[in-house]
């Protein structure tokens, strides 16, 4: 189950979560090293968001622990950043892309102080990297879904995080912007960061991730997409394999992902423009 890695950025060790008497996560263990883009796949209710919440310490696990570069997360918060799900953000606040990026500097700036020149420079560099500097004065609530995600990634970069978590990264992002966002994530991975994302879009995961964690309360499979995104795993995850992008029975998904690449799942319907 556990990916071999000598120096993992994130180690999830036997994490079990019981909420309201229901087992949500059952002894989940995996490692993710630097230079890795891990996709977490699984049906609704599989515990993906719960797992993310445990990793970023929004939710204490019932058992088990999460280590960031070998340290408990409480001592390594600066290194972990979280791109929130769309509905967790209060879009009524008038925040420009630059404002949001500067929030990443909050802990570095410190209490009762205002961001200084170094913070503004870090925010500018981050916005340039995600190619949103030209839109720095736009209100994030008025940006498209993909642009918003890029701004939140910029916030993570301004924070100096080297582990990025994106829950439902592609929901509300239109098909054209999905590619741009995924290319950005690949670029960040190549710079040495660890990216963990969840999405319903298995074909994108197959093409862009180098590790896939198949989760349905427990870890069904974890490893390179070509090895783990098989018909058997899909059957275990979803009860059927019609989620596969091409109907190639008995072969791995990624072989087809390259050839066809039709996005599947609910995310393709999201128009992703503007606030609700």
């Amino acid at each position: 189950m556990t990916t071999a890695n000598d120096n993992p950025s994130i180690s999830v060790e036997d994490v079990t979560v019981v909420r309201g008497g229901v087992l949500v996560l059952d002894e989940v263990s995996f490692d993710a090293g630097p230079n890795s883009l891990m996709g977490v796949v699984g049906p609704n209710g599989a515990g993906k968001s719960t797992l993310f919440n445990v990793i970023v310490s929004l939710l204490p696990p019932t058992e088990g622990r999460v280590l960031v570069h070998g340290q408990p997360i409480a001592e390594a918060r600066q290194l972990v950043a979280y791109v929130p799900q769309h509905e967790r953000v209060n879009w009524r606040l008038p925040m420009s892309a630059l404002d949001v990026t500067l929030l990443g500097r909050t802990r570095r700036v410190g209490w009762f102080r205002r961001p200084g020149r170094a913070d503004r420079e870090a925010a500018e560099e981050a916005l340039r990297q995600v190619q949103m500097w030209d839109r720095r004065d736009s209100l994030v609530g008025e940006l498209s879904g993909g642009q918003r995600q890029r701004v939140f990634v910029a916030r993570a970069l301004a924070q100096g995080a080297d582990v990025l978590l994106l829950d439902e990264a592609l929901s509300g992002v239109d098909v054209a912007s999905q590619e741009a966002l995924l290319s950005l994530l690949v670029e960040l991975r190549d710079q040495g960061r660890t990216i963990i994302m969840s999405s319903h879009d298995i074909s994108h995961m197959a093409r862009h991730c180098d590790q896939c964690l198949c989760l349905n309360c427990h870890v069904c499979a974890c490893g390179p997409p070509a090895e783990v995104l098989t018909e058997e795993t899909m059957l275990e995850l979803y009860g059927h394999f019609s989620v596969l992008p091409a109907h190639g029975h008995g072969r791995s998904l990624s072989e087809h992902g390259h050839a066809h690449g039709h996005p599947h799942g609910p995310s393709e319907n999201g128009d992703g423009h503007g606030p609700n």
């Binding site: 929004l58 979280y82 953000v89 009524r92 606040l93 008038p94 404002d99 802990r107 209490w111 205002r114």
Partner: protein, 286 residues
């Protein structure tokens, strides 16, 4: 004295008008500064409820011969924290928790007022505000608390904004979001009680949300919206006070009316015809 000076200065030959002006201006600044959070976080009903729920505290303080602040401020903070706690822990919907507490305490206040056989303040003054009745003591308390609230909102600006905009992201980087929420509720409680002097229980909501909503319509930047909201708030309070003096009208309702008028103008400006917006653009480009 020329007529203009007379219009503006004549009211201040009475020291009660000077005190009223100071208190109104402070309320006009503070309410909208906290009000931009109230509007963007949907806390309007909460603010309204706090104003009603402090009635037992105020009546109690009057009965004991104390300053109404001494009853109202601790009561408002306690109620705000209690509502915050109920919403988090008891699993009740926010408007239900707020409604239960607000109605129960307001009713208790009304019963206390009647059963006590009378206090030195009329129910009408409590409900509609009586800024002309403020003492120097009230002025100093208002000034001190206004400075404290402004210092906290400005000093903790980025933390309060982060926790309001993206609470889970704020928790992830280790900000104490629960404490920041309670702080905001506590400041809301203080501001509501101070505003009671000027506009009374029923109209507190107008000072709290109307100038802030007008500013947020016009300005797409949180700190600037705060400044513009404060400007609208002061304008509402001060213009309202002058109008009430010169036309012998109750001050609280006139302040609320001016705030509403500013809001209507802001909506009109926001929806101004395209030719007006374009002409202004053309002029500024020249």
């Amino acid at each position: 004295m020329d007529p203009i000076s007379q219009l503006f200065l004549e009211p201040f030959q009475y020291s009660f008008m000077l005190r009223a002006l100071i208190v109104s201006a402070l309320v006009g600044i503070m309410c909208p500064v906290v009000g931009v959070y109230v509007v963007t976080r949907g806390l309007g009903f909460m603010g309204d409820a706090l104003a009603h729920a402090v009635l037992p505290g105020m009546v109690g303080a009057f009965l004991l011969g104390l300053s109404p602040f001494l009853g109202a401020i601790p009561m408002a903070i306690a109620v705000a924290l209690l509502i915050g706690y109920l919403v988090r822990r008891a699993g009740l919907a926010e408007d239900t928790s707020v409604g239960i507490i607000f109605a129960g305490l307001f009713a208790l206040g009304l019963v206390m007022l009647t059963a006590s056989g009378g206090i030195p303040v009329s129910l009408e003054d409590l409900l509609l505000g009586q800024v002309l009745g403020t003492s120097w003591n009230d002025v100093w308390v208002t000034l001190g608390l206004a400075v404290a609230v402004l210092a906290l909102t400005l000093g903790l600006h980025k933390e309060l904004v982060f926790a309001s905009f993206d609470p889970s992201g704020a928790s992830v980087i280790g900000l104490p979001t629960d404490a920041l929420d309670y702080l905001l509720l506590g400041m809301l409680a203080v501001v509501v009680v101070l505003a009671l002097q000027a506009v009374g229980v029923i109209l507190v909501i107008s000072m709290l949300i109307t100038p802030a909503a007008a500013a947020l319509l016009l300005v797409g930047n949180f700190p600037r919206a705060m400044a513009v909201a404060a400007l609208f708030g002061v304008a509402s309070a001060v213009v309202g006070l002058y109008l009430s003096y010169h036309y012998n009208l109750p001050s609280g309702p006139v302040m609320a009316l001016v705030a509403s008028g500013i809001f209507i103008l802001a909506v009109g400006w926001k929806r101004r015809p395209a030719w007006l917006a374009q002409r202004r653009l053309a002029t500024s480009e020249e």
